[in-house]
Symmetry: C2
Subunit: 343 residues, 2 copies
DNA sequence: CTGAAAGCGCTTACAG
DNA sequence: CTGAAAGCGCTTACAG
């Protein structure tokens, strides 16, 4: 049950724990340990299946080689995929990842941050919830390596990695306008977070640039806290309320999914009765009939940049703030009308 | 930067670290610490924002309150959803979760297990890869709290939580037969793992029970290591090779998704030219047109049982092995013919 | 070339 | 009612 410790090896090798530690940490040369002793220790370690206790090491060195990753929802396609790459990339640097989902709830986020602090994680990748400013500020003041993802807090300059939400939404709206759609609705969340604001801004900017009208009644905001059933009801009655509606832009993947379901339940045909674009890609969008046009985030790039920025911080070789904004890609499928089918 | 320690509180309160530790661990009563001292310490702790160092505590007590969760692929819908509930449930018991994906690769699994051991996790939830027997055996011999998920190793009796793969596949096949389909193909993986075997067994048992023929040429196995493109090619040529094929059962969610894509690319219509059932549910299956009939796993139940079994082990109040098999549910949608549409 | 000793921040058996 | 001391398993500054 009890593991093998450095002491056990030292005893069997007839040397001190110090020497064992040096050899096992690859400092044999540097500390000028004889080859003979070195080999004996290495052999003994593998024979006894020595597993260094990271707790003890962490306590002593102050480094746990662990990073905390706080996402909105690990079961969401976007976050799950980012998490996977983050884990793979972190592994390359010898770091493990401790995850947690906030559900965009402040209390949960605070709880997660507290636990991660207890666990002495070396760095943080955080998807901030609303009103998390105080906690982010104090992490920043403590000079903890940290990078935000998916959104940032405008009042607090920090590292972050984001998709270009404004451009993504702008492109989507412009694409619909160029196809000749005139009555375009936007379905988004009630969230005042920057990523959602930017999507709204990009969308309205495109409308304005093309002199298209976007009256308030064409904008529907669904609370993040709404159940699926509530959201479907709200989207359906919104659509029914605008008889001449010809296109809808959904500002995030789960709303896009709800949207497809709502439109289906209303007996409308996507691509014929109404054009649809969603932010974020998803297997469902690709394989839906008709395929759903979407604004795809560069998930691999996002994850790689997150780790790269964080590793820079962890190794202390950065002074300035890193704010990475990556381009979104409009993936054209069939949901905006048969005429647009590109094969 | 440096955190507040028990010593700091002790100094400021004018008591010993021992007393502080007792009070902070809720042992004030038991250790008969005066109310006065107790209150002073508690007040001081919150004023100084004392955060107990879990590393130190873990080193001393041997308990880290962390469990390791090894899944096949955290980006897969099934595993991501299980992981999310596992995390929520574990949290209720004060445990954090350390995740990792194996990609069903033995070397990755070994690496993950090693890291988790370094980190002194208290217990393990493991989706075993092929040939992981030795490692599982040694964990078992070390009496580490452990429960397997999604599959088990037939040669090693351990705790596990699984869906009833045999019954799920049996029901699917029987359903197709009852609808009058005669030429039913099975697309599965080359994996020899028990969950895949059981799905194959359930399928063939249903065929046999109904005196239906299931020649070898109706069975297609795709390697787990195939790229998406390779898998699509293989599925397409398999389908093309059987002109009178009228139904296909895909044995897992990602194959079901590939299957839908393949059928689409062949220009065939699901539910008209060919009936389709997939193991596992997915948003995509629910919202596809036509909806894809599937064998759904009880994800919440699986996750809850995993934690329940593991907590039993962690608290040492179990002697016998816990093997939980949960029923699968056939969700009937439109992919098996218009006649079967149940609304 | 190698080792004795201190210390990371806790918990706990023991003592009074 | 409270405290001194040992120890969990490491690393590292210091000494020789």
């Amino acid at each position: 049950m009890k593991g093998v410790s450095i002491k056990d090896i030292a005893k069997q090798a007839g040397v001190s724990p110090t020497t064992v530690s040096f050899v096992l940490n690859g400092k044999a040369k540097e500390k000028r340990i004889s080859d003979q002793v070195s080999k004996k220790i290495l052999k003994l370690a593998s024979k006894l299946k020595y597993k260094p206790n990271q707790l003890a090491r962490g306590l002593r060195t102050g480094k746990t080689k662990t990073i905390g990753l706080i996402v909105e929802d690990i079961a969401n396609h976007f976050f799950a995929n980012v998490a996977k790459i983050v884990e793979e990339e972190a592994d390359k640097f010898g770091y493990k990842v401790l995850y947690g989902s906030t559900e965009d709830d402040l209390t949960k986020a605070k709880g997660l941050l507290e636990v991660l602090e207890y666990r002495q994680v070396d760095g943080y990748i955080i998807t901030p919830t609303p009103n998390l400013d105080k906690e982010i500020e104090s992490l920043k003041n403590a000079r903890k390596p940290m990078v935000l993802m998916d959104r940032y807090l405008p009042q607090i300059p920090t590292n972050y990695v984001m998709v270009n939400n404004f451009q993504g939404a702008f492109d989507a709206a412009e694409y619909l306008l160029n196809l000749g759609y005139g009555k375009i609705a936007l379905v988004t969340t009630t969230s005042e977070q920057i990523q959602m604001k930017e999507r709204l801004n990009g969308f309205t900017a495109a409308m304005k640039a093309h002199n298209a009208s976007f009256p308030r009644k064409m904008l529907k905001k669904i609370p993040f806290t709404a159940t699926k059933e509530e959201a479907l009801e709200q989207i359906k009655s919104f659509i029914k309320g605008i008889p001449d509606l010809d296109a809808i832009f959904f500002s995030t993947n789960y709303l896009g999914i709800y949207g497809i379901e709502s439109i289906k339940e209303l007996g409308l045909k996507i691509g014929e009765d109404v054009a649809v674009i969603s932010f974020d890609d998803h297997d469902l969008f690709r394989l839906h009939t008709p395929g759903i046009t979407c604004v795809a985030q560069p998930i691999n790039d996002i994850a790689r940049n997150l780790i790269q920025v964080l590793m820079g911080e962890l190794n202390g070789n950065v002074s300035q703030i890193n704010q990475v904004i990556l381009p979104a890609t409009l993936l054209k499928r069939e949901s905006c009308g048969k005429a647009t089918l590109a094969r």
